[in-house]
Symmetry: C2
Subunit: 254 residues, 2 copies
């Protein structure tokens, strides 16, 4: 590896390491890379500083190629996403399984609710507006975190106006068979149309803490509105997903 003036060393190291990872050099056993200190030795023709090696490893982490475990080392990463199919979730009857582009276990793994909190409190401004309630008006909030294989992957909050939730199990911890939508349906407010909005950005410090992410990890911020026959919004849900763990699928059948 040669170096000319004005080039960026960390990028050269990253390029070479990427080549080695993709060539399968570290695929045996626990798929562990050399330690940062060892890499400084290996690349001493290019750089002599641990910071530069770290920066190069950061590039590969950004690309999803490797991951770091503190006190342990750097490892080749694997992408095994949780498939999240909107049509399947919202209209189970309309959905017919279709193949994904990526090679994934389409079955999906079990997602468990971890830490449900039901509150009756004012919602954030944009949620209140979407629900058509006053900014100060209290609504039911069902706040929970989802875990897969013991790892938190998503934070979700559902907002339901009192008008639709009162005298139903929506205000309780356990909503019973079929969940919130089944209870809304029984109360005559069954949602029939939905809108999902998806935005992708890097995690805030609070989200890093909540979901156990790395600094600078991307999250998906998702809003869902559920509408009754007459167009009234009966539920707004706000979700923060660990982006590295999900594949979102949207089917538009005939």
């Amino acid at each position: 590896m040669e170096r000319k003036a004005g080039e960026r060393k960390y990028r050269e190291v990253a390029d070479d390491l990427r080549r080695r990872v993709n060539a399968g050099e570290f695929n045996e056993g626990r798929r562990k890379l050399p330690s940062e200190r060892d890499l400084v030795q290996e690349y001493k023709a290019t750089t002599t500083s641990a910071m530069t090696i770290r920066q190069a490893l950061g590039v590969l982490r950004d690309e999803g190629l490797v991951e770091s475990r503190v006190g342990s080392g750097w490892y080749v990463a694997e992408w095994r996403p949780i498939v999240r199919n909107a049509l399947e979730r919202l209209f189970p009857d309309r959905w017919t399984a279709a193949r994904s582009m990526w090679e994934v276990d389409i079955e999906g793994r079990d997602m468990n609710v971890e830490d449900l909190r039901v509150q009756f409190a004012a919602a954030p401004g944009e949620v209140a507006r979407a629900l058509g309630v006053g900014e100060e008006e209290k609504v039911w909030q069902r706040n929970r975190r989802y875990v897969v294989d013991g790892v938190p992957v998503m934070r979700a909050v559902s907002f339901i106006p009192d008008e639709y939730a009162r005298n139903t199990r929506i205000t309780e911890g356990d909503t019973g068979e079929g969940g919130v939508y089944a209870r809304l349906r029984e109360a005559g407010h069954g949602p029939v149309a939905f809108q999902e909005q998806v935005r992708c950005r890097l995690a805030t410090a609070a989200e890093v803490e909540d979901l156990g992410l790395a600094n600078g990890a991307p999250v998906v911020e998702q809003y869902r509105k559920a509408m009754r026959e007459d167009g009234c919004v009966v539920e707004v849900a706000r979700m923060i997903l660990d982006a590295s763990k999900f594949l979102l699928v949207y089917d538009f059948p005939r």
Copy 2:
């Protein structure tokens, strides 16, 4: 600002800077923050190193709160997303405008094709599989970049098997009114069902280059399959979006 052993200085600086940005301290004029060197002075009670200040600024950039311009400085960032509505794009007739959660200019800004390249070549493995063609088989590839206000925001490649594209303007630079789907429809291969897959991750070095992103910026990787009446996939599109510039909207009407 005090500091105890074991805490992370860059996070303390980030927290304080976030508070100042949100309080509107830098909202006048060009919304410029103090230079890194000035910030080292301002926070010399916490840290004495420029690297630590940079790390703190990196946290706020990750959160989308500020952005850096080389040779110029750090600025308060603004999120003005391009709204990308799947139903509107795929089924203009089924779509009825619905309000967004975020305060955005729903009209959307003009997106222009910049640099169209039409090729006849073998497609990547997963695309070939989705199209149901052999790995070696050549397909038509329409590769282009989209720009908004002169800034590149998306790279898109459409893959169409020769079987559907030959003897149509799909193989030419200009596909004519209505684009690829209109030509497919005329040829009796009109797509009637679609699937979109969305994944979010950090940009690779090549994508950073192509879209003019910052290192460690998130992108949206999107695949779309377009299906004919009989379920045959007539087009696969692969898109890389600058995640900071888009809001994806998925409508599910009754």
